[in-house]
Subunit: 344 residues, 4 copies
């Protein structure tokens, strides 16, 4: 039985991870931390009724936690993960980090994007980008995995195989993404209050979202040239789910793109092509670790429209983290992860 | 491995049952039926990605289905279950019925309430009311279980122990219940269309809802006298969950009522008292098979306010059906049933 | 043209008042105040496009504002209105106060309920409770009107005529109310964040809400004896609207109650009885200044169920304030107030 | 006082028109029709409380209606408007048609797009496309105005000036639009039922929506060459509002585009540019007849991102129809139309 700690367990991703881990036969949560709630139980703080309800929040002190666990899930903000990761790795505890601290190969791009200084560059060299279906082999050998951003996950999964095989023009890709509000995290903020979000819809951080460079770096890696993606995130008045509508100019008929994706993901349980002519919806993946992809050709206008859906809290966060755990510790990658959608 | 059929599997309760059963180690779905979708797979019809996605819908013909299964879950409307139950039982297949056909001891009350003639009265004598925590022993021996209504489940669980121990006045009990829209089932109806339900809230069937006699019959049974409950259902603009606010005049201090419930449910995993002074919310039970109960005393006005929450599709339908299955077939009652809430 | 100031204009009630006043031929907003936004325009701060978009927020300094206006609408929290009201009245400016500071005849009940000391008791004697259809004549002569609470408005309008005529038992009234989230005001608070409220429903402040004594004081006044109301507020995942389900024991057939309300409100445009057998819904009054009332008899159980709906931001706040203004300044009471619902 | 008829008044656009007209000093609704509800009043059928509540639904028989009115608003499906328009015009009654029947200059494109035969081609020559800010002068002289589609309104208002002045490349324009569910009309359809739409989000009719040719025909007219627009509509789980995110390649810096729009709409009250750097949101225009436009430059990637928001039931339907009425009958175009948003 592998033992784990969740650092920062009171947010939406931490709670979702606790919910998912319950179903995992080989993973046991030993430690949860929360600065504000030390000494109180999960039941007390979150009205939790699940398996781990009696677990008591500890302070995030690595030397106390490390001896008890084999792996640490870091659910902390960007900039806060580096020091924790360094300490856990020093104690031979593997790390799966939810933040952006280790997602970038280019430290300068990270520093510019997040306006944070980089403390452990050598650590970053060891880090593997945890997009499970793409960096599988590296993840299996990794001690430090950077769980990808939610938007990048929904956009990279359909695009990486296509740019790798040079099937689409790379100077012209548009990703129009819409995310449920849980993507913003759990916090008191008027902008995310019910009356402000409900019955509204808006774009934000146009041409300036921090996931944009993350998307471009990974695509450029596979295209072996610079790829530019015009990325616009939008806030959806729903709790969970991401829907990305991606516009590309294809160099071949849509069937070739479809076959490419089919081949790339053929033995992978969590990435699926929607039947021809059907649009995958958020409900089809809500509550699952799936990414579903639809392909449509607009012959008259010379474009292929790709739609991609994920549950931002599962495949976009805690589910993919658990999938990374499975790869790192030798479990079948679907272990403990849900396939059946929560339709209503 | 017990084998089962789901009769009428394309509705919300049927799909929810399929989702839950996946996690059950001892139950295998062999047959799903749908008049409209015969010959098509679950994946094709419902874009299903879970374990049973390749299962193909059959016609609801009992003689073909019975040889393949040990138990049948009937997810059909009131009036349609009797004939199916009769046939399955004749073939020695146990039945768990989601409809109201076998919920009433009094056939005349059923006929008056549902305006339907009763075909198999003798069958009704054999039926057990499947409120798991209350009729446990009878359910274990039953071949035919009537899964309770969603509203009654949320109201009877807190009230049965109290009327049984004669702790509250039985001549006026008020149950003001609010249900998510999935309680209305899956159908094309302007009344339940998005724009009509969203941003609205309304009471319906005031003093005339069909669950009212069901609630009163069961309470009267335990009170050993006639109990009257003023019951008002309301439609909530959410997908799932029931919140019942129940007003009673207590004959003893609230602590006595609390102890009574604590004792009655002490070894039962799915019924829990909220900590004193806290109100259980729908989110705390969403995605679980739990019923959470809160008790508040309004000393100044001489009332006790009881709040009770369930997930109408789980404890109010498919989850309780699975719990009944566990009791009927000798599994621990929590087998395959979720405890961790889906907070967002 | 009457000139007015809105003190605290950036909240939901302030903005709603600005929206409504646009349609009023005899009222002109001259001053809006906001501590945080002094010197900035309504368009700049709230992206406002309406008539008053170029109005610039001032500091809430009465001596500067008073000379410019005839009336002040105070949209400030309880405890903050007394001093402002005192100053405006000293400057011969009439006051319509949205807070609770002047709602209670009994200062001790106010102090106990709001845990605030009372500074200007003599001012309170002059204040009139602004429930327009009930205190009409007093309001016409008043210089200081206390705009009623949103919950009390929805509960008092149906009950006052009935207790006044002694048609219902007064030792036993239950009001189960559900309010849209805008009732909580505009603030950054995790409890009211989208993901916490959306898809949830909960009761709060059971037997301890501050509107409970307000309701009881007014009913007792008309019953000429102490009236007790068990009041439970609930939080609805919608933006606006209040639905109150009220349970009473009637001393006469429901027809008598219906006639009583019909007579009491016969010449009043904003209070209407729903056709017999129909339940008024929030959508029927959304966007209007109406209160709609439905009456149902549960003969078998000896109760009358009254349902009452209002738009909490209009009849429950800014609309009733404008109606009070009309009465105070001699306009027809419906001047500038909407009747047509916003169905979607 | 101009007198009008609304043909098909029980849908969302008909009711919204009735709500708006109330505020119009020069327009009186004389006739409303509904096949299903003849002889019943608006109050009876729609629980209406507004000015026209006592209006009784008639049969849509033109010879009976025409003598009573000066103008007819046709709220009927595509294909049904032609015959009605022909008859009303024969009776010298002006027509404002909400359907697509007269939106296309090219009859063959209409017939191909809507799969309907064209009955009155000569009528189509007389019809004017009612995009108020663009075809103003033609509308003033028109007897038959085709009210534009909701999606086209949100996309054409920002793009027409830009293609007219040749400021953007016309061989690839992408319009990613999201619409509230009321855009689908008022009907019983499982696809639009609450539980299916709520907490979901999806694209539909990708590369095949009927508004796509409408958008392209109008843009091509002003570009004086064929313009192609890749258009993807999405269904938002909100009641009203359209948000269009439009991607263009600009031939000049964004400032030039901004100035172009500023100039084009300078004296028009309902089209506004959002302040630089701000994204207009649906809430800013909800309940108003406004179209708000935001412009963002993605310098690094060589694109301009245009966001455009309208209330689909007002500027996208009934409000623009009323604005067309104002132009046709010589009223100031803003007469009776709202500017202040309904924020919550």
């Amino acid at each position: 039985m592998i033992k784990a700690a969740i650092i920062g367990a009171t947010g939406y991703t931490g709670l979702e991870l606790l919910r998912l881990v319950e179903k995992h036969p080989g993973l046991q949560i030993e430690v949860i931390t929360s600065r504000e709630n030390q000494g109180r139980s999960l039941e007390e703080v979150c009205r939790w009724s699940g398996k781990y309800k009696d677990l008591v929040f500890e302070a995030p002190v690595v030397e106390n936690i490390a001896p008890k666990v084999d792996v640490a899930f870091l659910c902390v903000p960007a900039g806060k993960a580096q020091e924790l990761a360094y300490q856990f790795l020093t104690h031979k505890v593997k790390v799966i980090d939810f933040s952006a601290d280790f997602r970038f190969k280019s430290i300068s791009v990270f520093e510019e994007t997040y306006q944070l200084p980089y403390v452990y560059p050598e650590l970053n060299d060891k880090a593997v980008y945890g997009l499970c279906e793409v960096f599988t082999e590296e993840i299996k050998k990794a001690d430090l995995v950077a769980n990808p951003g939610c938007y990048p996950t929904s956009i990279l999964l359909p695009l990486i195989p296509l740019v790798k095989e040079d099937l689409v023009e790379t100077d012209f890709i548009i990703a129009d993404s819409k995310s449920g509000t849980s993507g913003a995290g759990r916090k008191a903020d008027l902008y995310y209050s019910f009356c402000e979000v409900n019955e509204d819809f808006k774009a934000y951080k146009i041409a300036s979202h921090r996931h944009n460079p993350e998307i471009e770096e990974k695509l450029s890696l596979f295209a072996r040239k610079e790829v530019k993606v015009v990325f616009t995130p939008h806030l959806l008045p729903i709790n969970r789910g991401i829907f990305s509508t991606i516009y590309v100019r294809a160099k071949y008929p849509v069937k070739v793109l479809r076959d490419c994706l089919q081949t790339f993901y053929q033995n992978r349980p969590f990435v699926r092509l929607a039947p021809e002519g059907t649009v995958p919806t958020i409900k089809e993946v809500k509550g699952t670790n799936l990414c579903k992809i639809g392909l449509f050709e607009d012959k008259k206008r010379g474009f292929v429209v790709i739609t991609s859906v994920i549950d931002n809290l599962i495949k976009g966060a805690s589910g993919q983290a658990l999938q990374n755990f499975n790869l790192m510790f030798g479990f079948p990658e679907e272990t403990g992860l849900p396939f059946s959608p929560v339709f209503v």
